[in-house]
């Protein structure tokens, strides 16, 4: 557990650039650096747990494609590294929105997950859904094609945001175990370092599918894990908040008393593995908070029993969204919770969600938020 004399660095990806927000352990006064890569979409920025000065950023543009940027000084300076994401072999087809076959085409990197132990190893989740790995600091990328080729690939289909691999969780207790999630294919797990994969969607039910309990096709929005308890996973599905106690082999619903169980973001308190946060969104047709009230919901019981956290958040006329990669926690003694909105605010709580304040208010729409706790 980090002391409050430490500092915090918040990495924010937006539709028009990246921003780095820094503060001391009090988390009251914030310095804002940016925009970095101004005018480009920054889907994700994340730091290496093995070297906090090593950051990776996904920079993309409909005009000029994909760039990967790397920093070795905590975001002060950046260098472009490799941007070639070539699918292994003949890519084949997945399903288009109307169920017809559609060729696999690389569009962008949604998520970058640095290795827990090696600052030169980083995983990339991409659209159209696939998993890549670099072991040379992002200079070259190789597909872990056992995922896309495991057999169900032709049945995957895009969610509204595209067919994206958006979640990568590395098991701190087992270096061979990786969890990923794809919209709209579902969750998958590898137990051999990414060579082979299996779908882990038993217990999910999605009424939008011809077979609501099919092995693949579920629109999983996000999965979260507490590092001390990697067999317990929490999932925000398109609809439904779910929990697994057996590393994804089975899931059960823990939506409980949530006012709506649609949403995107989900995360776990840094020191309390059964304290979980979600931001309920009205519906898949109306991507904004219910009743114009921006409310984070917290469960201290691992799901089912939820309380609304509203202190400091707008409680009228608020129609922003909180996207799937836009919530994160710090590891200070009093756990900090952070989330960004499509309205350009980043809210922070320094007391586990009891109260909130905007630490920056007028950014472009926020796509991702990550937090580094610095000693």
């Amino acid at each position: 557990m980090a002391k409050n004399s430490s500092g915090v660095r918040v990495l924010v990806g937006t539709r028009k650039g990246a921003f780095v927000l820094t503060s001391d352990g009090k988390r009251t006064n914030w310095d804002v650096s940016g925009p970095h890569f101004a005018g480009w979409e920054i889907y994700h920025v994340k730091g290496s747990p093995a070297d906090p000065n090593r950051l990776y950023a996904s920079q993309s543009s409909g005009w000029f494609g994909q760039m990967i940027q790397r920093s070795s000084d905590g975001g002060k300076t950046w260098e472009a590294v490799g941007n070639q994401f070539a699918y292994d072999g003949v890519p084949g087809t997945h399903q288009w929105y109307d169920g017809t076959p559609h060729p696999w085409e690389f569009k962008r990197v949604w998520h970058l997950e640095p290795s827990l132990t090696d600052p030169y190893t980083v995983y990339a989740g991409v659209e159209d859904a696939a998993m890549f790995r670099s072991t040379d600091g992002g200079q070259t990328w190789q597909e872990l094609s056992g995922l896309r080729g495991h057999g169900s690939g032709p049945h995957w289909q895009p969610g509204a945001g595209g067919m994206c691999l958006h979640t990568i969780l590395l098991d701190p207790a087992d270096p061979q175990r990786i969890f990923i999630a794809i919209s709209a294919a579902g969750a998958f797990r590898s137990d051999d370092g990414g060579q082979t994969w299996k779908p882990i969607n038993k217990g999910l039910r999605s009424e939008m599918m011809p077979n609501p309990e099919a092995e693949v096709g579920h629109c999983v929005h996000r999965i979260a894990m507490h590092p001390s308890r990697p067999n317990v996973l929490f999932m925000q599905k398109h609809w439904d908040v779910m929990r697994s106690d057996d590393a994804g082999d089975s899931w059960h619903e823990v939506s409980g008393n949530l006012p709506t169980d649609f949403g995107f973001a989900i995360d776990v308190h840094a020191h309390e593995p059964d304290t979980v946060y979600v931001v309920p969104i009205k519906s898949d047709s109306e991507h904004f908070p219910l009743d114009g009230k921006l409310r984070v919901y917290r469960s201290r019981t691992g799901g089912n029993e939820w309380e609304a956290l509203t202190n400091g958040l707008p409680q009228n006329d608020c129609y922003v969204n909180v996207l799937r990669d836009a919530m994160a926690v710090d590891r200070l003694d009093s756990c900090g919770i952070y989330f960004g909105t499509t309205g350009g605010q980043v809210y922070a709580s320094t007391n586990a969600g009891d109260s909130w304040a905007a630490i920056v208010e007028h950014l472009p729409p926020v796509l991702s938020v990550e937090v580094q706790t610095l000693s």
């Binding site: 005009w63 494609g65 760039m67 941007n83």
Partner: protein, 98 residues
């Protein structure tokens, strides 16, 4: 010297201001100019042409001497004014939005 004008975002990626001047060997074509450009500024690889197919990205256009070369063969000779350096070769981001 071949003169190349890049859109702002690609100038930032390349770390240049204003026009780029390139030595290009052999026949002056879209392909030879872009090959020389990417050799000088490797970070531009993949931003103008697809890595694998070498096809122009859909929202990128190539103009020279007030003509559109976007749909010409990449191996077609560019105008003499480009080869002589009296006119720049333009890499343009297609206009989109309102």
């Amino acid at each position: 010297m071949i003169r190349v004008q890049l859109p702002q975002h690609l100038r930032t990626i390349a770390g240049v201001e204003g026009e780029v001047s390139l030595d290009v060997e052999g026949e002056i074509t879209t392909r030879s100019v872009l090959d020389a450009l990417e050799a000088r500024y490797p970070a531009l690889r993949g931003t103008i042409r697809d890595h694998a197919t070498q096809h122009r990205r859909p929202f990128v256009r190539f103009f020279a001497c007030q003509e559109d070369f976007s749909h010409e063969s990449p191996d077609a000779p560019l105008p003499e004014a480009i080869a002589q350096g009296t006119e720049p070769f333009l890499v343009v981001g297609a206009i989109a939005g309102g």
